[in-house]
Structures are given as C-alpha cells and as structure tokens.
C-alpha cells in the first residue's frame, strides 16, 4: 500500500537546505497499522510533510508511492483526494471558517477531484452528528471556526473527526495522542480502530507505548537520524519504554 524506498529529503531554503530524511525505506501493506517511534528531532513530522507534499520539503532521492501511484509528483490536494490524510502534530487555526463548513468543503473538493458527486446536505449532517457525538464534540463546537480557541485535546479530537468524516485510504497520525486526556485517548483510539479495514493502512507516530495499548500496531519502527533503524513487533515499543532509545539503539548501532 504505502511504499517508501530509500527516500531522502531536505528542509529549508536552497542554500540552507538540510537533509532530514536520509535514505528511509518503509512498507505498510493494506490492512496494517504501523507505528513509528523515535527521538525528538529524528524527522518523524518531516516524513509526514514530505509524504503530504508541503512546500519547503524537497525530495532529493528515492521514491514514495501509495497503491502503486507515485505520490511525489502530485499536489497536496491531489494526494488527499487519492486518500492520504495527515492528522497534524500541531493542528492549524483557520479563522472564520466553521468546522462544518471546512469539512464539507474538503469532502466535496476531494469528491470533485475524484469525479464523484457531492454529498447531500442531509447525509452530511447525519454523518457529522453521529461522529461528533462519538468523539464528544458538541454541535456548538462544530459551528466554531476550525481549531480557533480549541484546547489542545479538542484540536486532536477534531483531527480525528475530520479523518472519520473523510474516510481516507491511508492515514498518518502524528502524535495524535499528545494532549489527550485518558478518556479522550480511549474515544480517539476507538475512532481510529473503527476505521481499520483490509483496504486501509495507517502510520501512527507516537512517543508513548500507551497509545499502542489501544491501537495495536502490526509493526513498530524506530526512526532516528532520518531513517528507519529498527523494526519489530508491538513488543519493540514495550522495550523502548523500558530501556529508552539509548538502550535499544546502542544495540542497533
């Protein structure tokens, strides 16, 4: 499903461009959920921006494809329409655009790019009510401008709300657990698990093993210095929790 081969990418303006992703290879087959863990500054968020096509992140080598389609040639919106979704580590405030308006615009824009008809107003409202209730987002909250003045945890819930509304083929969750209280961690995880399906893949970036108790990964990768340096099963996350990166990476080096 998602296939990255020897990917290298730089961040920053031309003369100050810095290589952050440095020969990264990774494959997430359809139906699987993989976790990425790694020290601060390892390049985890950078990887998510490279894959979603953010300006200023330049791929200098290797390849990245989703279901065999080259991602790197496409605009961010085309990648989204192909089903790639990023839950941002730091969700962005969009002043003046209510959550509902935003999600509906996004949903219909994606459908249009895919050549599908728009969602009907009643269907949209029904679906947003159901998912909002599931994530403890009140209808008043969904009328407010997106992310403006929302608490850290609320913003993360709104990211997952958007994901569940948009039903992407492949989702990258960048530290969605940070800022969530204990109950919210459970509701968000339930939402994520509800989306697990044989056609869908996910990459879950996290620092904490706790999330992986709720969202059981098929594999755990350790990303350091811009590449995957260790891959294992769920038990790798537990080992990292106990021994720290020094312990585990010392052995890898």
């Amino acid at each position: 499903m998602l296939k990255l081969e020897n990917l290298t990418a730089t961040v920053g303006e031309e003369d100050e461009a810095k290589t952050i992703i440095n020969g990264l290879s990774l494959e997430v087959p359809a139906g699987e959920v993989h976790a990425i863990m790694g020290p601060n500054g390892a390049g985890k968020s950078t990887l998510s921006y490279v894959l979603t096509g953010r300006d200023g992140y330049e791929v200098t080598g290797g390849s990245a494809s989703l279901e065999g389609i080259d991602l790197l040639d496409m605009d961010p919106e085309e990648r989204a329409a192909k089903g790639l979704f990023l839950s941002f580590q730091y969700p962005v405030e969009v002043p003046g655009v209510p959550v509902m308006t935003f999600v509906r615009t996004a949903m219909n824009a994606q459908r249009k790019l895919r050549g599908e008809p728009e969602i009907s107003a009643p269907d949209f409202i029904k679906k947003s009510r159901e998912l909002g209730a599931q994530l403890n987002l009140t209808s008043d909250m969904l009328k407010r401008p997106l992310n403006v003045g929302f608490s850290g945890g609320e913003k993360k819930r709104l990211e997952i709300f958007q994901m569940m509304m948009l039903e992407p083929r492949f989702a990258i969750l960048d530290e969605t657990d940070s800022g969530l209280d204990i109950d919210a961690l459970r509701t968000v995880s339930d939402g994520v698990n509800a989306l697990r399906s044989p056609e869908r893949g996910m990459l879950v970036i996290t620092h904490y093993q706790r999330l992986l108790d709720h969202i059981k990964p098929d594999k755990v990768h350790v990303l350091a210095n811009g590449k995957i340096i260790k891959t294992g099963g769920p038990e790798l996350a537990l080992r990292l929790e106990e021994e720290g990166y020094d312990g585990v990476l010392g052995e890898a080096a």
Partner: protein, 415 residues
C-alpha cells in the same frame, strides 16, 4: 444661467478638458445661490489630484482625462429584491417608488441646504454643484419620521452615459430609524453620489453599500453624516473599485452619547482601484466609534485606506474609538496604501488603532490543501472569511447578498 464660460473657467487653476466639460454643464443648469456656493468650493481644487495630500493615492484628475461615456452597461446585481422600495438615479433623472415605506416622506427640491461639510470634500462640492438637470430636481430629501422596518434602496446606474450625478439628503427625526441600502453600479464614465445625513436625538440609521464599476469609470460616493444625541449610525460598504473609486465619509458626533460603526471591505482585481477615506470628529463627549476595514487585492489592483479620528480637547472627553485596517495582498503586484490617523487632544479617552497588511498564511493553506481543498479554493475561502468580519454589521436584508457578491468575486478571480 447668464454667466460667461470664461468667467467660470477663470475660477479654476489650469482646468483640464474634463473640468471644462463639467463647467459647461454647470453653466446650463438653473442657477441658485446654493449651487453657486458649491461650485465655488469645487473651483478651489478642481478635480482632486495627487498633489493634494488627501488625494495622493487617488487621482481623479489623471483618471478623468475626458468625461467620456462608459463602454459598459451598469452591473445588474443591485442589492434590492423585487417588490422592495427602490429609488433609482440614472443620467435621465430619478425614478421614485410607489411603495415608500410607512414613516418615510420623499420631497423633491430644487434647492437643499447643504450640511456644510459637503463643500469641504471636493467631489461632494462638485456633486452639489452639478446634480440635477434642467426642469428636474437637484436634490431628493428623505424625511424619516418614525422607526421604519422596511428597507429603502437607492440604486445608481449610469446607462452608458457620460455622467451620473445624484444628491440625496436624509433627515432622521428624533427616535426614527432607517434601513438604507445603496447599490452604486457604475455604468457612466463619471458617477458621483452625495448623501447628507442628519440624525436627530435617538435616531438610528443602518446604511449598507455595494459599489461596482469598470476599469474605464470613475466613481465617487461621498457621505456627510451628523449624529445627534444618542443616535446610532452603522455603515457597511463593500467596494470592488473602478478605474478610480472613492468612498468618502465625513462623520461628526455632534451631541453626546452617539454611536457610529464604519465598516468596509474592498476587493480589487487588476485595473481596479478602491479608496476608503473617512474623517470622524468626536465633537461631543462620550461618543463611540468602531471602524473595521478589510481589503484583499490581486496583482494590478490598488486599495487605499485613509482614516482619521479627531478628538478635540474641549468637547471630546470620554471618547471611545477604535480603528482597524487589515489588508491581504493576494499576489505580487498588489498594492495597498494606508494612512490611519488619530488626532487626539482630549486626555480622558480610549482610542486605539491597528493597521496590517500581508499575505495569506502558508500554514493555513497547506492544512487546507492536505484536506483536499485545491489551492485557489483554499485562498478564496480564507480571504472570504477574512473579509466577512467587516460585513458582519450589514443590514440583515442585504448581508447575504453582500457575502455572495464577495464570494463570487473571490471564486472567480483568486488563483
């Protein structure tokens, strides 16, 4: 009128051919002392131009080499809905509605006492001197005697004429209220509208304005507003500009406790120029002014904001005034000029102002694109949300139409 053209010409310094045509028009109109006074005031400056401080960014003299018919029909999108009460000004004269809202009286006058300040604005003076026609009325007086609910619309459309000049005076009696909606649709080479609005104690006026023009047209919308005790004036304007377009408002808090809101938004595509200029005098204690002006400009477009609050020491105590101007430069080559001014002599006041211009936030754009919203649509949506704040206080009757007009423009022009 039996004045010689030469004598009239001599009142101007270096009249250009556009001014000569305006002088010739004046000579044909029925004379009156009011009209003469306005003409003298106009002759002081002629068509305003860049060497005058208040007009340095908006040069009517340069834009109006000649008074020529517009090649364009007026825009059709008036804010008025069918069945509503509409006063329409065209080069052929004025058409009054049969269904004037209860509580309002319309008087046609050949002379109207100017509020005075009109003559301080060159294009106000010009309009006062040149509105009207032989055998027609000069000024329409709108007398509002009661609180009124039904909106009153004014539409100006140029019908491919050379000029379309109109003058309106509004008198709002104590406790009376008016929902005034104006659509200035261009369509003449030179359109100018002057409105003088006097509000008496406890009066309330909501004034909502749409301005549209074309790149071969000059347009001026000049308002002189006087606020009586505890009166309330709310103005919301949406301007798309023209070759030059100026919306100028001179407002005076004459008695204490009055409240003014002066909001506006300009959206300028290539070749369009929109100027919001205002002068607010806190000539009485404990009055409030709130002003929010927003703009979004594309490559080759020009936006101008000039705002001034004047708070004299002796009369302006306890003034509460806030002026905000924020502009979005949507593309390289977009131009915005801004001059916010607070001139405050009273010491016990709360006055603030803010002025920013910049581009859209790339983080917001990326976030939206990641969700599948194409870049142009994301830019249009963010710009609409930005501008909408300045239209929030518009009359309920016209707010949706204003937002639609802004949205249509942004959807069509933002890349």
């Amino acid at each position: 009128m039996t004045v010689s053209m030469d004598a009239l010409k001599d009142k101007f310094r270096n009249p250009g051919s556009a001014e000569l045509e305006l002088i010739a028009r004046y000579a044909m109109l029925p004379g009156s002392s009011q009209r003469e006074r306005a003409f003298e005031a106009f002759a002081e400056t002629g068509l305003p131009h860049r060497r005058m401080e208040a007009w340095k960014w908006t040069d009517f003299k340069a834009a109006l080499k000649q008074v020529e018919a517009s090649k364009n029909a007026a825009d059709n999108a008036a804010l008025a809905a069918p069945g509503q009460s509409v006063i329409e000004f065209t080069p052929d004269g004025v058409v009054l509605p049969d269904n004037v809202p209860a509580g309002i009286k319309l008087h046609e006058r050949n002379e109207a006492q100017a509020l005075g300040a009109a003559e301080e604005v060159p294009l106000g003076a010009m309009t006062a001197a040149l509105s009207g026609r032989v055998g027609g009325l000069d000024t329409l007086i709108i007398e509002v005697n009661e609180p009124t609910e039904q909106p009153l619309h004014i539409v100006t459309r140029g019908d491919r004429g050379e000029t379309n000049f109109a003058r309106v005076a509004v008198i709002v009696r104590p406790g009376a209220s008016l929902d005034l909606i104006e659509s200035h649709l261009g369509g003449a080479g030179f359109s100018s509208f002057l409105i003088e609005l006097g509000m008496q104690e406890g009066g309330a006026v909501s004034r909502t304005i749409l301005q549209r023009g074309k790149t071969d047209e000059a347009q001026a919308i000049t308002a002189v507003v006087t606020l009586g005790e505890k009166s309330e004036y709310t103005q919301t304007a949406l301007a798309f500009g023209a070759k030059v377009a100026r919306l100028e408002t001179r407002l005076k808090h004459q008695e204490s406790g009055s409240h003014a809101t002066l909001n506006g938004a300009y959206l300028c595509a290539s070749g369009y120029h929109a100027d919001f200029t205002s002068h607010v005098r806190h000539g009485a204690p404990s009055s409030i002014t709130r002003q929010v002006t927003k703009g979004a400009v594309l490559d080759g477009g020009t936006g101008v904001f000039q705002g001034k609050f004047l708070v004299p020491r002796t009369v302006g105590q306890h003034t509460d005034a806030d002026m905000q101007h924020q502009a979005l430069l949507l593309e390289d080559g977009a131009e915005v000029f801004a001059k916010p001014e607070l001139e405050i002599y009273a010491d016990d006041v709360e006055c603030a102002h803010g002025n920013t211009s910049g581009a859209l936030d790339p983080n917001q754009l990326f976030y939206m694109r990641q969700r599948g919203i194409p870049e142009a649509e994301a830019r249009a949506l963010l710009t609409e949300a930005f501008v909408a704040e300045a239209l929030e206080e518009a009359s309920e009757t016209a707010q949706e139409a204003l937002l639609d007009a802004a949205r249509r423009f942004l959807t069509d022009s933002v890349r």
